[in-house]
Amino acid sequence: MHPALTLSVSFWSDQFVNGLTTGSIYALIALGYTMVYGVLKMINFAHGEVFMLGSFAGYGALVVMGGNDLSGPVIALAILGAIIVAMAASVSASVVIERLAYRPLRNAPRLAPLISAIGVSIFLQYLVLEQTSARAKFYPDIFPRGSLSAGPFEITYIQLFLIASSVAMMALLYAIIQRTRLGRAIRAVAENPTNASLMGVDVNRTIVVVFILGAAMAGVAGVLYGLFFQTIRGSMGFIPGIKAFTAAVLGGIGSIPGAMAGGYVLGLAETVGRELLNELPGVSLGNQWRDVIAFTLLVTILIFRPTGIFAQRSTTRA
């Protein structure tokens, strides 16, 4: 019990900002799960590793560009470069995974691609662990320190950058899905691939595009994660991957706005929710309880509301 904290407004506003920060990462990754599920009705369990690969690629790019020696305005360019390299790496990995591990199983029983996905996930995780001798890497500590305050809210520059760029990426993705010809084709394929093909949509190509969009979001998330938490390792994709999957399920798997909202709900539930539980007499939950909260939510939702907390109609996939 820490009664001193409960009275502090700034404590709760910090928890809120922290929740938005992790929520942004979950939301970005969750989009890949939900979009692939939308078109293939399959959970791409290798998506956490696509995020991990992006994080490592971004790390490599930053190191090549000067690492901790970077200073001044060049840092902004380096981060942009790292994000682009990470997106490229995640996208390439995802396209290869789709082609080699999922497409050959397109007409197989539903369990087959799922097992294939878990296999790819383990393979990539251990590949990177092996290449790094299972040691952590540390993102260059280049992001300007400092923070902004507004009322009771205090937000560090890195948190602000992380949340703002996540929201910007999601807005861009949402606009693509809702407003463009490509987005319409994706929604049409998600609803009915055969009918979409009768409109002239190349279904296989569209599925690849969906993997590309999801992987691009995961690549961005990888760099943001690295800049914020600094420590990355080959196994880093697992927990955020499952959390993001939880977020996608929370929001109703297949739904794009649902995945975004689910990411933030989960981020806030883990941080603010844990501290609220700590307010109960005799309860004192450490940091590890964040995972317990997330997975309790996952199981509860799967049992009682498998269509997600916002579900209205089961056919809406956008």
């Binding site: 319409r184 929604r187 049409a188 979409a196 093909s197 409109m199 002239g200």
Partner: protein, 235 residues
């Protein structure tokens, strides 16, 4: 040379052989109908032509080009549009987005085509922003046909457009099919409603258990005794 030439087409599902070597022709500017009872293989024939299922054998030639190995999205681009059984409306897309999906293969201006669809089906224009799934059956059929027209097809395959519609709506749909033909498109019409189909068709084929058993001009078949007994409800 016919616009569509089907030779010895065979198709099926798993162990089921639904279409057992049928041949038919559709000439430019015609309305041709394929009639037959439920389960005869009409929809399967259309699916094999448009590439939704891969033919097991035989040849399909459209506008002089073999299409029996092509994927459906490639066939649409050649000018062959298939309105499937059940209409195939995207329920989560708006009516307007459904029409845009119809024009997916096009990169020229489509405004005139939209106007033409609104003119044929004024009810669609009132419902442009509604999700396709909220339309009535008749409106969905109008949308399905209007959407197919957005591709400016040379050949339109229609699978039971009258299914589930009130007699008044059936009348409207059949008038539209004739209007579409007058504007230059060719139509292959599959129907269980043989009476109406034979009335507007130039030529007709009768399919039974996956085989063509009769063919002739529309008027001739509607006078045929066997056809009258089997499909026009006469004893």
């Amino acid at each position: 040379m016919p616009l569509l030439e089907v030779r010895d087409l065979r198709a099926g599902y798993g162990a089921i052989i639904a279409v057992k070597g049928i041949s038919l022709d559709v000439n430019e500017g015609e309305i041709v109908t394929l009639i037959g009872s439920n389960g005869a293989g009409k929809s399967t024939t259309l699916r094999a032509i448009s590439g939704v299922i891969r033919p097991r054998g035989g040849q399909v030639t459209f506008a002089g080009q073999r299409i029996d190995r092509l994927q459906p999205h490639a066939i649409v681009r050649l000018g062959l549009s298939h309105v499937p059984e059940g209409r195939g409306i995207f329920h989560s897309l708006s009516v307007y987005e459904n029409l845009l999906m119809g024009a997916y293969t096009r990169d020229d201006a489509i405004q005139a085509d939209l106007e033409r669809v609104y003119h044929l089906f004024p009810r669609l224009k009132e419902r442009l922003d509604q999700p396709g799934g909220t339309l009535s059956g008749g409106e969905q059929q109008m949308l399905a046909i209007g959407r197919a027209l957005m591709a400016r097809p040379r050949l339109l395959l229609l699978d039971e457009p009258s299914m589930g519609l009130s007699p008044v709506l059936v009348e409207t749909i059949f008038e539209t099919i004739q209007a579409i033909r007058r504007e230059g498109a060719t139509v292959l019409l599959v129907e269980q409603n043989a009476l109406m189909a034979l009335e507007i068709a130039d030529r007709a084929y009768v399919i039974e258990s996956g085989e063509i058993t009769l063919s002739g001009t529309g008027p001739a078949l509607s006078r045929d005794d066997a056809v009258r007994r089997a499909y026009l409800g006469e004893a």
